[in-house]
Symmetry: C2
Subunit: 347 residues, 2 copies
């Protein structure tokens, strides 16, 4: 396990509750965490008898895991070195770094290098998570499977940022004046959602659309009421979040539209949270859920639920659209393995 933040803690907790999984080690980037008991570092409330490690290569050599889950970062550039270390030690990798859902979007070179390294070491590397990784891409792709013709896919996720911390709120511009929000977008401080280009590339690749360009827009969600959370109070006229949208074009027309407004307490203005996938084609239909699938719980679940799929997969860099559909794990995860654990590749 790589990472002891909120996601890392959730994944450690789920791994401990998953039959057939042995947690062999935990790596943290933060130096001050090295040597702490993992249970203490991730806030489990009990010691695990495993010390957090600050040296990834050494950890691979001593613990020889079959699979590592990376929850340390969001960007390919930031994820690549850890992944390369794991792969060269013969460890399969599941990353929840957003850009790793479809790393070719960020860099064809890095993706090709990671793919070649994974193939050379007979392991599989997968990026996953709720978004990108599932709601706005894998699920949309799966639903398109019932279509004889698809003219357009519109996928939307409306969530509530109230449970999130200050870093996430700042990235969505929560609390800013509208003018400051626009300046923040210009300067790259208000980033909105990380993942649209990845989701679009995954859908385009899976269906066969040659995406010519992607237009992204980040608009302030200006609150008309006072919205308050434990961390922040937004007065009327201030920004409650970021309406981030992306439209992808193929053959000159819009084919994929992704909509992801992220704000605190949308219900105060009568906005319901939820996920929806609308496909226009033959047939046209819309699948939706209210409220939205909770992102943190789901990202943790996907990372753990894909473990056996990754161990079963052909070596190389893979996307969610290339592996079998994810499935919750009931009972012993080892029953899912095509090759018994003793014979499987091991770091």
């Amino acid at each position: 396990m790589l990472g002891t933040g909120r996601m890392g803690a959730g994944i450690v907790d789920l791994l401990l509750r998953t039959e057939g999984v042995e947690l062999t080690g935990v790596y943290a980037r933060r130096r001050e965490r090295a040597g702490l008991d993992v249970g203490e570092a991730v806030g489990l409330g009990r010691p695990l008898g495993i010390a957090v490690s600050g040296g990834l290569a050494a950890l691979c050599r001593t613990t020889r895991p079959h699979v590592a889950i990376q929850a340390t970062c969001s960007r390919v550039s930031d994820a690549r070195d850890e992944i390369a270390t794991l792969v060269t030690h013969g460890v399969n990798v599941i990353s929840i770094a957003e850009e790793m859902a479809y790393p070719r979007v960020t860099s064809d070179d890095i993706a090709a290098a990671l793919d070649a390294l994974a193939v050379a070491n007979s392991v599989t590397v997968l990026g996953t998570g709720i978004n990108p990784g599932f709601v706005l891409d894998t699920l949309a792709i799966a639903l398109s499977g019932v279509c004889q013709r698809v003219d357009r896919i519109r996928a939307q996720r409306v969530n509530d940022l109230a449970p999130y911390g200050p870093t996430v709120l700042a990235a969505q511009g929560v609390g800013l004046e509208p003018a400051a929000f626009r300046e923040g977008v210009e300067r790259g401080e208000v980033v909105g959602h990380v993942g649209f280009p990845q989701s679009i590339a995954m859908i385009g690749q899976a269906l066969g659309w040659t995406i010519e360009r992607v237009e992204e827009q980040r608009e302030p969600i200006v609150s008309r009421v006072e919205r308050r959370t434990a961390l922040v109070t937004v007065q009327p006229g201030r920004v409650a979040g970021c309406l981030h949208t992306a439209t992808a074009y193929a053959a000159g027309r819009p084919v994929i539209e992704l909509v992801h407004p992220q704000q605190i307490r949308p219900e105060l203005e009568g906005v319901a949270t939820g996920d929806s996938i609308a496909i226009t084609g033959r047939p046209s239909f819309e699948f939706s859920a209210r409220p939205e699938i909770p992102g943190g719980i789901a990202t943790v679940a996907l990372a753990v639920n894909m473990v056996a799929h990754v161990m079963n997969a052909a070596p190389g860099l893979r996307t969610m659209a290339e592996l079998p559909v994810p499935a919750a794990v009931v009972g012993d995860v080892r029953r899912r393995l095509r090759v018994p654990l003793e014979a499987a590749t091991r770091g």
Copy 2:
């Protein structure tokens, strides 16, 4: 292509519109169709210059297809001989026979024999369709992938039988007195939906539930109003369709509940058609669509959309839960192939 009925006609039509696909031949069981032009046999309104064949083995030898789609039957016992003929000629098979979605439920022996035959001939056999094959199983499995814990899955499909023919209506008991409906269930004439055991087995296998028993119920949907279609008029007090449900138990408790009422014109009593998947666990959520995904269009689409996935798959008998998620085909389907067509297995 095997079959020139309603589904066969739809598949032929879609194959002709799919870039990168060449329709090499069509086989029909009905002897009177042999020799007819395919376009005439399936009602395309134009000749295709291909004659319907009544001899499957000879058709395989002369046309050497990469993939065959079987739309001739519902039961494994009825599908197996054609599949065996195709497989021994080196042809990959996609079957829309309901029981082929998970053939081990019907017969472990037949499934094992087909799997061995497929492996020996380096081809893949897949069963698919809207239901079983997608809405009440593959989609439910995929959605479970965001769950850290699943206590129960309830999947429901409410449809309208108005577009269907007399065979389908009779199988749901449409027009019968309630007492005659119950006798029909006893005698096996009112069958309801074919596919619950297959969907349950697929979900159980994918998640890891050991299913101990499945309880199926077929109840008459007694109409309170007059319901009329082009084919039939149902008076108040008579049966408008069959409420077919199945509950699967693992470790002594119900874990999967599938609900599929099939009736004519449910809207006349205020019942909306639709699909829904409700998962109780961590998290709990429900995805739904109104109206339901149209079954005929979707089954045709799935059969064609899985062509490249089947050609890319490891040899053997496969289920939808073992292959990558389905995806609509935009553009040339050959771009999806891992191995170029010239080098691919060929019948």
